[in-house]
Amino acid sequence: MSGYLESVLVLLAINTILAYAAFLPMVAGQLNLGVAAFVAIGAYSAGYLSNTFSVHPVPGAFAALAMAGFVGWLVAFPILRTRGIYLALATFALNQVVQGAILNMDAVGGASGYPIPEHIGFAVVATFAVGVLALVVLLFHTRFGISVTAVSDDERVADLMGLSVRGLQSAAFTAGAALAGLAGALYAHHFNYVEPQNYGVLFSIYVVLYVLLGGTQTVWGPLLGAAVFTLLPELLRGSAAWRYVIFACLIIAIMALRPQGVVVRKAWFSR
């Protein structure tokens, strides 16, 4: 496989994992503008473990997943006391704080960036992506999918119907954080270099936008969104900036014409 094709497919795999990292909180009604923070936590954790303790990338990726998930779980306690726009703002603030914190961590390079020599190829990344996809598809065939949708639709009644609202919201948020961390670790070990400037709120915004483009009503929407975001620019060539211009116009159009996103279906459970 050519180097170019390989890096595009790797990006597709990573963006897919990211898509689901944003998707899980969104189904629970949480607009997570802090996705990038958890990606960064995952990337830097994996990088640090690899560089300092020679941890192999695959267990390192799991450790990164756990680390990001743990931070997500901790942060969920105060953040999930907020709702709606306050929650979006809190995740935004978290994103910027984490980015700022990493800028200050000289042990992992600070503003100069952090090289991570240990490399993983397409096969490993793709395996993780397929694994995540399978898990998410399975997850939305359980009560979890309809339960978090219920929580998002009507928290009060979901609670009266016996659901643990806080538990579900926290699970969605934490799982999203964990997946983001995994994506970060895979990125770090494939592209072998990370820097804090990449993990600002605009990164989170891109992810959220392409998930919305694909649609959050089904498990396949995020995958489509990730594919469009990754592949469209490749099809159109042009500079990175033009790709984002087109992406932005796509979003504006979709929100105007079909805000539910491209992939729409009525039910989580079919007949």
Partner: protein
């Protein structure tokens, strides 16, 4: 030395204050977080650089920059609030984010990613007050910010449009029933916000002599923190929040270095959201799901 930092902080704060007012108007009246505002800030700042470098007299450059804010804000309004009544309530927020991305990348295409040095359009005059130095242009900027908000305050309290805006802020459906010409009044929120933001962009470019396609992200985004800290939906809260964030940032640079800024400014935002989400002056925001 401390006083100088304080003065510097207040001067910077006036930039944040204007942006915060734009944010807070959109939140308070329309209940939406307008992420395109940093984009408008950046466009105004870059246009200021572009026109000043081309030799235009600074009042003309200012006028053009501010006009750009107004015009672009109308464009944003067509695609955000105009469409809000349909189905999903997150549409305006999402579309505004897309506009931010659009403006930033268009600027990158037009002018590249370097930070540009804005030529100073006039001689810097500074006053010495006690042991501190106050740059007059910056003081004028602060004065403009406060004057602009005072006018806005009058507009909101004394005019038909202002009454209409406050009614919409209370309850948009009732506003229509009460005969408020919503489709004519809502653009005012956008235009005022756009003008304030663009003015802020111009002031920043001129006072700090820098402009880049990333200045929206780097500078104006902090206006969100200012808005929340001061109290969402409260324009005087926006002023207070803006000045406070300016001071916090200046002291953070002084004590922690440039890399401590984000932690300080956004850490404060995070803290306020957890501890006192209504902000210092107690904003009122219609609670609504995203």
């Amino acid at each position: 030395m401390l006083e100088q930092q304080l003065i510097n902080g207040l001067m910077l704060g006036s930039v944040y204050a204007l942006v915060a007012v734009a944010f807070t108007l959109a939140i308070g009246v329309l209940n939406f977080l307008n992420f395109s505002i940093p984009g408008l800030f950046m466009v105004a700042g870059m246009l200021t650089w572009f026109f000043l470098r081309a030799g235009l007299p600074w009042p003309l450059a200012a006028l053009l920059a501010v006009a750009s804010g107004g015009l672009l804000s109308i464009l944003v309004e067509r695609f955000t609030y105009r469409l809000m009544s349909r189905s999903q309530h997150f549409v305006p927020l999402v579309t505004s984010m897309a506009f931010l991305i659009l403006f930033e990348n268009l600027a990158l295409i037009a002018w590249g990613s370097d930070q540009q040095r804005v030529p100073l359009p006039f001689e810097t005059v500074s006053w010495r007050v006690g042991g501190t130095v106050i740059a007059v242009p910056q003081l004028v900027g602060l004065g403009c910010a406060i004057a602009a908000v005072a006018c806005l305050d009058l507009l909101l309290k004394r005019t038909h449009i202002g009454r209409g805006l406050r009614t919409i802020a209370e309850d948009p459906e009732t506003a229509t029933l009460l005969g408020v010409p919503v489709s004519r009044v809502v653009p005012v929120v956008f235009i005022v916000g756009g003008v304030f933001t663009a003015l802020s962009g111009f002031l920043f470019a001129v006072n700090y002599q820098q402009a880049s396609p990333f200045m929206g992200e780097e500078v104006a985004l902090k206006g969100i923190s200012a808005m929340v800290v001061g109290g969402m939906g409260n324009i005087w809260g926006a002023i207070l929040g803006g000045l406070l964030i300016g001071v916090v940032e200046t002291f953070a640079i002084h004590w922690l270095g440039a890399r401590g800024v984000d932690i300080a400014v956004y850490g404060l935002l995070l803290a306020i959201l957890f501890v006192r989400p209504t902000g210092l002056l107690g904003g009122v925001v219609r609670q609504q799901r995203m």
